[in-house]
């Protein structure tokens, strides 16, 4: 049986690192270290001796890491492996997900590919989660501003709630703008005028 691969994670975001760590453990890897936004990468890599390093592309230390491969770890050309050069589809997927991986020893691409796949999937998952969170935040903000605009109309024009909402909707449709955008204008105007 092959020994478990020793993986090191370098990420700017702790939550995402945890997400990747659990995925890699499920995939049968040993996670030897999780570095969050640190800059002493060099000493960590030499003390932890990982087989594979998974690194967040937003982490500026990628250039340092690559140079370490060239000089101290390998001293050969080309010494850095971005998994498998011929595997351009997975490289593209990795770049778009914002993750990169480096192989320290002469491991075969077959052994490393599953790690990259886990990392890509977890990065994408994290992106989706963050987008959903952003959407939820902006939905909440939009609902609040529509409520405020409705309140302004009710107070200034003595309208009932549903009547105020219908007027808002009609005005937005007539002007071909979003309800929330119209509501923001009304709130802003009211702040100036009142």
């Amino acid at each position: 049986m092959q020994s478990r691969l020793r993986v090191m994670i370098v990420d700017e975001k702790a939550e995402r690192a945890a997400l990747i760590e659990s995925g890699l453990i499920e995939a049968g890897c040993e996670v030897v270290g999780c570095l969050i936004g640190q800059s002493d990468l060099e000493s960590k890599v030499s003390s932890l001796q990982p087989d594979v390093i998974v690194i967040d592309m937003e982490c500026p230390d990628r250039d340092t890491l690559e140079d370490m491969f060239r000089t101290t770890l390998h001293r050969q050309h080309p010494t850095v492996m971005f998994v498998d050069r011929s595997d351009s589809e997975s490289i593209r997927a990795a770049v778009q997900a914002g993750v990169s991986a480096y192989v320290v020893g002469g491991l075969s691409p077959e052994r490393v590919r599953p790690i990259l796949e886990v990392a890509i999937a977890r990065f994408q998952e994290f992106q989706t989660l963050r987008r959903e969170l952003d959407d939820a935040k902006s939905n909440l903000e939009e609902r609040k501003v529509v409520e405020r605009a409705k309140g302004i109309l009710m107070k200034r024009r003595g309208m009932a709630e549903d009547e105020a909402f219908r007027l808002l909707r009609k005005m937005a449709m007539d002007r071909k703008i979003r309800l929330a955008a119209l509501a923001r204008e009304i709130v802003a105007a009211a702040e100036v005028l009142l």
């Binding site: 990628r62 250039d63 340092t64 050309h77 080309p78 971005f82 050069r85 778009q96 990169s100």
Partner: protein, 420 residues
């Protein structure tokens, strides 16, 4: 067409791209561009290779290394425009500076300070069995790496064995110097000035001192992109060239500093940026600035021409330091990446005079000179090396002879044969 995505790294010499966006040069030349701030050169390389970026600011050696296949995940690249000349500096920690002064008070006061004093410090450390000094640069194929090595080697310091040389991203340099994780570095502005303004280091040599008006960053695209989108590419070059002309004028440098100070670009205090952009370089805190009017050159002196001679010099450095171990025909490689023809076409449309020549002897002009061009003479600046060496691109074989000891004999012979 969807907007072009163009990558940049937060450095003073992203100025031309920032200006092209903020002063409407892209719009004027009818292209829509989204600028993307990148955190590492590896990201720039990978994103251009995958097509996530259409074009990017790159270190002058990067498209050459990528095309030669010596950078990982490398795709053939081309550049039709240089983004400027000079702009870097070598800075040492204040404590190392004190030791250099003690070791050789005369040579350190010369400008550029020679590394002879540094060699004495290194010799002393070796005798006392102290750990090696650590120096940092920003990328293996960076001009910074080659300048630092050139400066060290000129004083007899072996950059691979007498110091520990490693890569540190520009934004981490100042912090690393602050906690003595490095003793010195070579980096683009504003990071040396920032280290100086915090009293952490002293500038010992500027890139201009080491090689007057030397190549620094280029605007690069994948070769395939240039082939498939010739008109879009030309419009991009035209817009950036137009912006470079604007950014180069002394009266606009204040606004350049203001634009770059924004968080979206560099996000460091405006005065730190403004000093070197105005040609005032503060070498050490509490010292009066020295005047280096050509510290940043964005357009004059044929600065935007992707000179074949610059490409050749960079390739020779790659050979010298063992990065390029194959034996390519250097002239052919240089010409396939540095595309003066693309520059000329864009310049012609803009009414900018492009030199008729696409290479020049380096290290031979000590003052202003001029070259015949497509629309009148092109005024050129000095191009001396600090050690007085010359580089004649048409006599490549004889320059390569000086590298004999740096390459395995068989590679050296193959190299000579490929370039004779």
């Amino acid at each position: 067409m969807k907007p072009l995505r163009v990558g940049f790294i937060p450095l003073s010499d992203c100025a031309v791209l920032a200006v092209a966006q903020e002063k409407g040069f892209f719009r004027r030349h009818e292209i829509e561009v989204t600028l993307s701030r990148e955190v590492s050169w590896a990201n720039v390389r990978d994103k251009v290779a995958t097509g996530d970026l259409d074009a990017a600011q790159m270190l002058a050696g990067m498209p050459l290394a990528a095309t030669a296949g010596i950078d990982p995940f490398a795709e053939p690249m081309v550049t039709g425009l240089s983004l400027g000349l000079n702009g870097n500096a070598i800075t040492v920690s204040t404590s190392l500076w004190a030791r250099m002064q003690e070791a050789d008070a005369d040579s350190v006061m010369r400008r550029p300070a020679s590394a002879v004093a540094l060699r004495r410090v290194i010799d002393d450390d070796r005798r006392q069995r102290r750990p090696m000094l650590r120096f940092a640069m920003v990328y293996p194929f960076s001009t910074h790496n080659y300048e630092l090595r050139y400066w060290l080697a000129a004083a007899g310091i072996d950059p691979d064995n007498d110091v520990r040389l490693s890569v540190v991203p520009p934004i981490r340099m100042v912090e690393m110097l602050g906690r003595v994780a490095v003793d010195g570095f070579c980096v683009g502005e504003p990071w040396s000035s920032l280290a100086v303004s915090r009293g952490l280091g002293r500038i010992v040599a500027t890139k201009y001192d080491i090689w007057n008006n030397s190549p620094e960053k280029v605007l690069a695209v994948k070769r395939r992109f240039a082939e498939q989108n010739p008109e879009v590419h030309r419009a991009l070059l035209r817009a950036v060239l137009d912006a470079a002309r604007w950014a180069d004028l002394p009266e606009n440098r204040g606004e350049v500093a203001r634009i770059l100070a924004a968080e979206a670009y560099i996000g460091v205090p405006e005065p730190v940026l403004a000093a070197t952009l105005d040609g005032r370089v503060v070498l050490a805190r509490d010292e009066a600035p020295v005047s280096i009017p050509d510290f940043h050159v964005f357009h004059r002196y044929g600065a935007n021409v992707p000179w074949i001679s610059h490409a050749l010099w960079l390739l020779v450095q790659m050979l010298r330091w063992g990065q390029l171990t194959s034996a390519p025909n250097l002239m052919k490689l240089a010409r396939s990446v540095y595309r003066v023809d693309l520059y000329r076409a864009a310049a012609l449309e803009l009414g900018v005079s492009a030199p008729d020549a696409d290479l020049k002897s380096e290290g031979v002009h000590g003052g202003p000179w001029s070259l015949p061009g497509t629309a009148g003479p092109v005024e050129m600046g000095p191009d001396l090396f600090f050690d007085g060496r010359e580089f004649h691109p048409t006599e490549l074989a004889s320059y390569l002879m000086s590298l004999q000891g740096n390459l395995p004999q068989r590679s050296f012979e193959a190299l000579l044969e490929a370039n004779s």
